[in-house]
Every structure is written in C-alpha cells, then in structure tokens.
C-alpha cells in the first residue's frame, strides 16, 4: 500500500510544485503567470519530440537521463513521505545522499560528453558547488543522527505528527537545508533557473545540448530532486505522520505548496550572487550547521 501510494505521489506530483514556484514569482512581479500545470504540458510536449545528437557524444549522453531519473526515484523510496518509507534501514540517509551524488555524476559526465565550452563551464561549477554543499549536508546529517539516535530517514523524521516544538536546532537546520535545497536545485542566490545566458548559468548550461525526450527526462528529474529536498527541509519543521492516513496526502500537498511558495518568494526578492561568492555562501551555510550541532550538543547535556 505505502509502496503504491508513495510511488504514485513521487511519480506524478513533483512538476506541480515547480508550477507553484512559477506562479508565486509571477504574482510577486505582478504578472498572471503560467498555469499551475504548465510543467506537465511542457513535459508532454517534450516527450513527443525527437532530438538532435552531437557527433561528439557517446553512450554517456544517452544513458544519463535514465540514470538521473532512476537514482532520484530510488532515493525517493527511502523517504517517509506518507507514513513509513517503503524501504528503510539504519544508514539509509547515507545511501540517500550518495544516490543524489550518482545523479550529479551522470549529469556532469553527460555535459562533458558533447565537447563544448559552455557545458564544460556548467559542469565544472556544478561539480565544485556540489562538493561544497556536501559539507553542510553531511554535518546536518550528523546533527540529526545525534538528536534522533537513528541513522535512517524514517527514524529521523519520526516525531509525533503535530510538529515538534520548534526547537532552535531545527530552525537552524531548516535554514541550512533550505539553503542546500536552493543550491542543489540551482535556485536563485546560486543560479538563475529562468535565464538562458550561457556564461552565467550552472544547471541550464549543462543541459544545453539535450532536446526532446531526454530533455524532458532531465527536467522531470530536476522536479523530483526539488521535491525530495523540499521534503527533507519541511520534514525538519513538520514531519509527515508515520502511519498512513488519507489526511497525510492532504498535509503533504499543503506543506509542499507552502515550501514552494517560500522558494518562490526567496527567488523573487534575492538577486543572483556572483559565482565567486557562491562557495563562500556554502561555507557560511556549513557554519550555520555547525551552530546547529553545538546547540544540539548543549541540549543533550541538559
């Protein structure tokens, strides 16, 4: 049962929240904005198209979309979205993080496969920023494991579903993971998802040479990644109930929409940073996580 529902939610809902972000940004800018389901229309359109391959490219370019989507879907199975995760075991947080890394590995190689400077530029930045954001991510994991005593996502997010008293640790961790979410999904202060100016972009730069079904799969993959990291961030403040009930689906919709609105708001009011500042910001985020660790340790003593 959990298997089926969780897979269905994971497969179908992610593009919707991208629509929510776009809508929020539009309303900040005083526009009407695209329909909420625009991303589904885009994906359907892309899935009906052929593609153009570069003569420089190899099987890496052709396999990468499937790798990206499958790693993210698998990672999603470890997350307690609606009740307990379909698969959970001690240490699945590490597997979760490394599955995301495998997707990134495939993406970077696919970008380098076409032999162009633009893709190389995007790939180089993605690789470097990915390494820096891993610092805060793993430190955050330590904090969570120390607090909850469990190294499994299902074990970590197992508070009673009213929402844990908003302890300072969780606020700090939420801030850190929210920023990781923005960085990993190439959102605003790090990267601008709406621009197509090659010299400044990261994620969009890497996928310049993709088209048709492959591009559709990659965009779909990014939507799932956003969905999963939103899940991570919001579950810190307000975890999903561990026993499946119909209202957990409604709660999921509500909370994730709230997160999407928050991301849209952040994107509307911040400007993109200069690239050279991004690692500094990621390190600052690491420091925030460090504070969370200290707070958690002091809390443990008491």
């Amino acid at each position: 049962m959990t298997w089926l529902i969780q897979s269905a939610v994971l497969l179908t809902t992610p593009p919707f929240f991208l629509g929510v972000i776009a809508k929020t940004k539009a309303s900040f800018a005083g526009r009407k904005g695209p329909p909420l389901l625009q991303n589904y229309y885009d994906l359907i359109k892309l899935f009906r198209k052929g593609t153009v391959h570069s003569p420089a490219s190899s099987f890496v370019l052709r396999l990468a979309p499937a790798v990206i989507v499958s790693t993210l879907l698998t990672a999603g199975l470890f997350f307690p979205l609606l009740g307990r995760a379909p698969i959970f075991f001690e240490g699945d947080v590490i597997l979760f993080a490394y599955l995301l890394a495998l997707g990134r590995f495939a993406m970077i190689l696919a970008a380098l496969d076409v032999g162009s400077g633009f893709q190389g530029m995007g790939a180089s930045r993605e690789a470097a920023f990915g390494a820096f954001s891993e610092l805060a991510f793993f430190l955050g994991l330590v904090v969570l494991v120390v607090i909850s005593g469990s190294a499994s996502l299902t074990g970590i997010f197992q508070w009673k579903w009213i929402h844990p008293a908003w302890r300072p640790v969780f606020l700090l961790l939420f801030a850190a993971f929210f920023f990781i979410l923005l960085a990993e999904n190439s959102r605003m202060p790090v990267d601008d998802p709406s621009t197509h100016l090659e010299l400044t972009m990261i994620h969009e730069g890497m996928i310049l040479d993709y088209g048709g079904i492959d591009l559709g799969l990659i965009l779909y993959g990014s939507a799932i990644k956003l969905f999963l990291l939103m899940a991570f961030a919001i579950s810190l403040l307000w975890p999903q109930p561990l026993a499946w009930h119909w209202h957990s689906a409604a709660l999921l919709g509500l909370k994730w929409t709230g997160m999407a609105v928050a991301i849209g708001a952040v994107e509307s009011v911040t400007a993109r940073l200069r690239l050279i500042k991004v690692p500094q910001l990621l390190i600052a985020n690491f420091v925030v996580t460090l504070f969370a660790l200290l707070v958690a340790l002091f809390g443990r003593r008491v």
Binding site: R48, G50, T51, V52, H53, S54, P55, A56, S58, F59, L63, A66, V67, S70, T71, T74, I87, F89, E90, G91, I94, L95, A97, Y98, L99, A101, F105, I108, L109, A111, L112, D113, V114, G115, S116, G117, Q119, G120, M121, A123, S124, A127, A128, G130, L135, F137, F138, L139, V142, V145, G149, A151, D209, G212, I213, D214, L275, I276, P279, L297
Partner: protein, 655 residues
C-alpha cells in the same frame, strides 16, 4: 600451507627462468605466466582459510639459537593475501599483453614475481626479523620495477626518491622491532604480547605509524607516491598502488593488535592522519594534469579513508564500543579489498591510454571512448566506484565507515565527538571532491573530441582487457552483494582479537543484504526508464548535428573545457593552501602570436617540510665532507667517539 609453499617455489622459478631465458617471448611468457600460475595457486589456501579453515604455521629453521624464523597463515594474513594474489594474477595476465613488443622493459621483469612473493612473505611472516627481510626485498624489487625506464632522467629521480623514502620507513621499523626486542627479548610476533602497557606503547605506536605510514602513503609521508607511480610501468603502478601500499596497513593492523592495547590517543591520532590524507590527497589529485600522478594522489586519499577506519576501530576498542569497533575495522578492511579492485583497474586503464596515445597529460586527450570503448567503460565503472557511488563496491565500505562514525558520534563526547564529526565531514568532502576529480578525468580524457591530432588510438588487446573486465565486474558484484564478504570480515576481525562478533549475524547495524534489494530496485528502475526512453525514441527522428555553440558554427576541439579549467573553481577557493605556480602569456595586440598558460601545484609536505629538511641535511653533510681528511687516525677517532656515545646512550637510557 603446502600449496602456499608450492606457489612460493613457482614464483621463484618464474623469476629465475625469466631471468635466464634469452628469447623475448619466453622471458615474457615465463615471467608473467609464472606470476599468473603461482598467484592462482597461492590464492587457494588463502580463500580456503577465510572460508573457515584453521590457521597454520610453519617453521623455516633457526639460523642462530635465539631466532626462529616462522611463517604463518591466519585470517588477517589471508585477507591481505587475497587481494595480493588476486590482483597479481590479473596484472600478470595484463602484463603478458602489455609487455608485448617492449623488449627494453623485459630486463626488469624477473623482479615482478619476486615483488609478489615478497609481499606474500610480508603478510605471512611471524617474526620481526623475517618480516623486515621480506619488507626490504619488497622495497628493493619494487624499486627496480619503478626504474624500468631508467634511461629517462625523471624516472631515475623518482626511483631515488622512492628508495630514500622506503628506507626511511625501514629505519623506523627497524627501531620499532629492536625496541620490542629489547623489551621482550624476542623477535617473535607471539611474544609481543608479553610487552607491558606503558609509556613505551605510545613510542612504539609513533615508530609504527611513521614506518608503516610511509609505505602506505599517509599524509605527510606520502611524497614518494606521486613520483614513483607515474614513473613505473602501468602494470607495476597497479600492483604497487593496489596492494603493495596495503602492506603498510597490514603492518599497522598486525602490530597494533599484537601489542598491548594502545592508549586512546593512538586511535585518535590515526583518525586525524586519516582525515588529513583523505582531504589533502584528493585536493592535490584534483590539481594534477598527469593521469598517473592524479591516481597516485587518489591512493593517498583512499589510504586516508582506510586509516580513518582503523583509527575508529581502535577508538571503539578503547571505549569498548563493539559496534564502533566492528564498523571501523570492518569498513577499513573492506576498503582495502575494494581499493585493490578499483585502483588496480584504474591504473591498468591508464596503461591502455598511455600505450594508445603516448601521453600522460589529460589535457592532450579527449574523445577516447570512441576508439577504446571497453577501456572507457571499465574506467567509468572504476571511477564511480572510487567516488564511493552506489551501486559499486566503494560505496559499501564508505557506508560502513559512515555508520561507524555516526554510531560513535551518538555515544561519545568531547574530543572523540569532534573527531567523528570532522571525519564524517572530511570524508564526505573528499567524496565530493573525488566526484569532481573523476568527472574531470573521465570527461576530459574519454568524452568530447580529441584535443590533439594524433594517430587514431587503438583499443588494447584482449589479454589486457580481460583482467579489466573481470575487475569491473568485481566492482559491481561486491557492491550489489556485499554480504558475500561479510563472513570474511568476521573471520578476520576475530583473528585480530576483536570480540565484536555478534554484530555480523543479524544485528540491524550490519544488514548488508538490504543493499541487494535497494540496488536491484535502482537497476530495475534504470532499465525501465531507459527502455521507455528508447521506445519513445524509436518513433521519433534523431538527427546528428554539431554541438550547439551559441550560434557559432563549427566549434573546434580547442574550445572544449580542459582539465585545468574544470578544476578552476576549487583551485581558486583553495589557492592559499595550494599556492599554484602559474606561468602564462596572454594573447596581445591585433595579431597575437603565441600565447600559453601553464600551472602546477607543489605538494605541501614536500614544499614546507621535506625539501627544506633534505636541503639542510645536504648542506650539513657537504660541510662535513669538506672537513674530511683521508687519514686513518681520523677514522679511528670517529669510530671511537661513536662507540663511546652509543655506550653512554646504552647506559643512561637503557635502550
């Protein structure tokens, strides 16, 4: 044990026959084929023992009354013998193809079987004296193999550095064993247990750490690796990096488990060295343009991960935390095996590239996967494995280690907690940087378009590819079915006196079988998505057209990102630490003539510690040489003063 002795004899025969045979073909066949046959023979007793056999010992004889030379085979030896013999057999097969038509390299081939047999000797010796003998044979044979291309100046230089470093290590080990001998009156490993715990243990630990650490390549004693590996022929690099440096790890494990339980700070020091090696190793690897030098630095990184695991195991043992002990030692041992598999594979792949393109510089390569598909695919598998990505074997050992660190973080406080958190973050960061590094290597060398016009590179022959395919399959098998290795780890841990056994059977912490399920889902999903994609594409048009380049028609290979540009964000961030030396000439004027850009990064420990140290020693010695007069009386005086000094040391300090 009979088979083990038989395999030793085969190795010696292979070396001898390859030395005396005249024909090139026979030399190669006997040398490499002998290694394959002997290694396979030697593999049998090791595997049998790990599968549940009893430890065996045998006495070689007593050359002098107080010294009995003994060899023994227990689970720890067997666990190291499996990669030694396994990788040697594969490397032997590879060398059979690799050395074809390389007559000038065959002169040093007889040392190849000797190197393997001396490594086997190191891990089976049960006596300090014998151990050092094998250790020295191993160092010397590998020195001769490193300097195979001794007509080149750099190779001789690299060989010289290696020889100096390895003897420095031996010197420390000599002191280590002599100290124990003075305390216990025996060189025998069995008698080490007689040693009382005390301030001596810490001192012994430091000697062991420097001695074994130099061989293993722990930062800051690693400086010989980035010199020796690029200089050696690729099959030797594979062997040295895959298994020879692991003898250092074996040494640490063996001695530290024989000696009385060392104080807590020893384990903590190991973790600190491990973190430093892991992070700095990969950081320096990222800055390299020479493929084999890059791989050598990655050995430093992986040794760092292993050493962190050892340290964690020791901390767990000091604190009597069985789970931490198991996960630390278990992760380290598993990583030893895994590193042999993927690093061996990477060096063999580097050998194929070198043979096909005649350059080690990554920036001159590109698009190789079209010409060498099998080398490319196996190299890709090994790259993913060394980054610790699922579903390959590197992930499992790192996962064990992470789990151990988290477990330790849950229960410890103060300094150990700080170490756990640093190790966790350090290894994660090293993993992130390894992804940068190997996407760089694979992306720049194998993908895109060739950067220089060279003759079409040819794929290697089957004798070279077959071992690589085997190793790549091993990467995947060990990743998907890690539970196969679990009994081996268990037996090995029991043999080093760990009583953390109940964990292996059914404890939720070490439920490795779950990975078969998780990775089966991953692979099934991948195949499904890919199948849907192909299905959709079958009814769509797919055109081939040049890479889109901003409306500019006709991008050239020179416009591709190079390895240096790829690593630029990291280098810029760490420039204070790395201090890259750049020599560049920008294009100037309306008709710019030649411009160039070159940069390289010097090693921190070489720059700040070893270079100045060696310079100081050299100037001191040259000053001494000026005073030297060729009179017998002076020499007698020197000898006299030395003897007096030694006597005083003996009387006062009692060593």
């Amino acid at each position: 044990m009979v088979l083990f002795v038989f395999s030793t004899i085969l190795f010696l025969l292979a070396s001898l026959l390859s030395l005396i045979s005249r024909r090139e073909k026979w030399k190669r066949l006997l040398g490499c084929g002998g290694v394959v046959a002997a290694s396979l023979t030697g593999l049998v007793p090791a595997v049998l023992l790990l599968a549940g056999g009893d430890p065996v010992e045998m006495t070689l004889g007593s050359p002098i009354p107080s010294l009995t030379l003994r060899l023994g085979l227990d689970a720890l030896s067997a666990f190291f013998l499996v990669p030694i013999f396994g990788l040697s057999a594969l490397v032997g097969l590879y060398a059979l193809g690799y050395l074809k038509g390389e007559g000038r390299w065959l002169g040093n081939l007889p040392f190849f079987p000797l190197l393997v047999v001396s490594m086997a000797g190191v891990v089976t010796a049960r006596n300090g004296f014998l151990f050092l003998m094998f250790w020295e044979i191993m160092s010397l044979t590998s020195y001769f193999l490193v300097t195979t291309e001794h007509e080149q100046r750099e190779v001789r230089h690299a060989g010289w550095i290696y020889l100096a470093a390895t003897h420095l290590a031996t010197a420390f080990l000599l002191v280590f064993f002599v100290l124990i001998f003075k305390k216990t009156g025996s060189f025998d490993f069995k008698d080490f247990a007689l040693l009382k715990s005390g301030p001596w243990t810490g001192l012994l630990f430091i000697f062991a750490l420097v001695g074994f650490g130099t061989k293993a390549g722990i930062f800051p004693f690693h400086i010989w690796l980035p010199h020796a590996h690029p200089a050696a022929p690729s099959y030797i690099s594979a062997l040295m990096s895959g298994v020879m440096i692991k003898t250092g790890i074996y040494g640490i494990l063996r001695t530290l488990t024989l000696l009385p339980p060392p104080p807590l700070w020893c384990g903590e020091a190991l973790i600190l060295f491990g973190i430093a090696s892991a992070v700095l190793g990969v950081l320096y690897a990222l800055m390299q343009h020479d493929l084999k030098k890059l791989l050598a630095y990655h050995s430093v990184e992986n040794i760092g991960i292993i050493v962190t695991g050892l340290g964690l195991g020791m901390v767990g043992r000091s604190q009597q935390n069985l789970a931490v002990e198991w996960l630390g030692f278990g992760g380290a041992l598993f990583h030893v095996l895994n590193h042999a598999v993927f690093k061996g594979l990477l060096f063999l792949g580097a050998g194929n590239i070198l043979r096909a393109t005649h350059t080690k510089s990554i920036d001159r390569l590109g698009g190789l996967i079209r010409f060498m598909p099998l080398t490319g695919i196996t190299f890709l598998v090994a790259s993913a494995a060394i980054c610790g990505l699922p579903p390959f074997n590197g992930f499992i050992s790192e996962w064990l280690l992470y789990l151990g660190l988290l477990e330790a973080a849950k229960t410890s406080a103060r300094f150990p907690l700080f170490l756990c958190v640093s190790a966790m973050v350090g290894i994660a960061f090293a993993g992130g940087l390894a992804v940068v590094c190997f996407t760089k290597v694979f992306g720049v060398a194998f993908l895109g378009n060739p950067r220089t016009e060279h003759a079409k590179p040819l794929e290697a022959k089957w004798k070279q590819l077959a071992p690589m395919i085997f190793l790549a399959t091993a990467c995947l098998t060990l990743g998907i079915m890690p539970q196969l290795i679990l009994p081996w780890l268990q037996t090995t841990l029991l043999s080093i006196g760990s009583n953390a056994s109940p964990l292996a059977t059914g404890h939720p912490l070490v439920n490795l079988g779950i990975f078969s399920r998780a990775f089966a889902i991953l692979i099934a999903l991948f195949l499904l998505v890919h199948w849907i994609r192909s299905l959709l594409f079958s009814s769509r048009t797919v055109r081939i057209a040049p890479t889109w380049d901003c409306g500019f028609k006709g991008p050239t290979p020179r416009m591709q990102y190079t390895a240096s540009s790829f690593a630029e964000p990291i280098r810029t961030f760490f420039h204070v630490l790395l201090k890259p030396a750049v020599s560049a000439r920008n294009p100037e004027g309306l008709f710019p003539d030649k411009s160039h850009f070159e940069e390289h990064v010097d090693d921190l420990s070489e720059r700040l510690w070893f270079s100045p140290l060696v310079d100081k020693i050299a100037s001191f010695l040259s000053g001494l040489r000026k005073r030297q007069r060729t009179r017998v009386q002076d020499y007698l005086a020197y000898i006299f003063v030395t003897l007096i000094l030694l006597l005083l040391v003996g009387v006062w300090i009692g060593i």
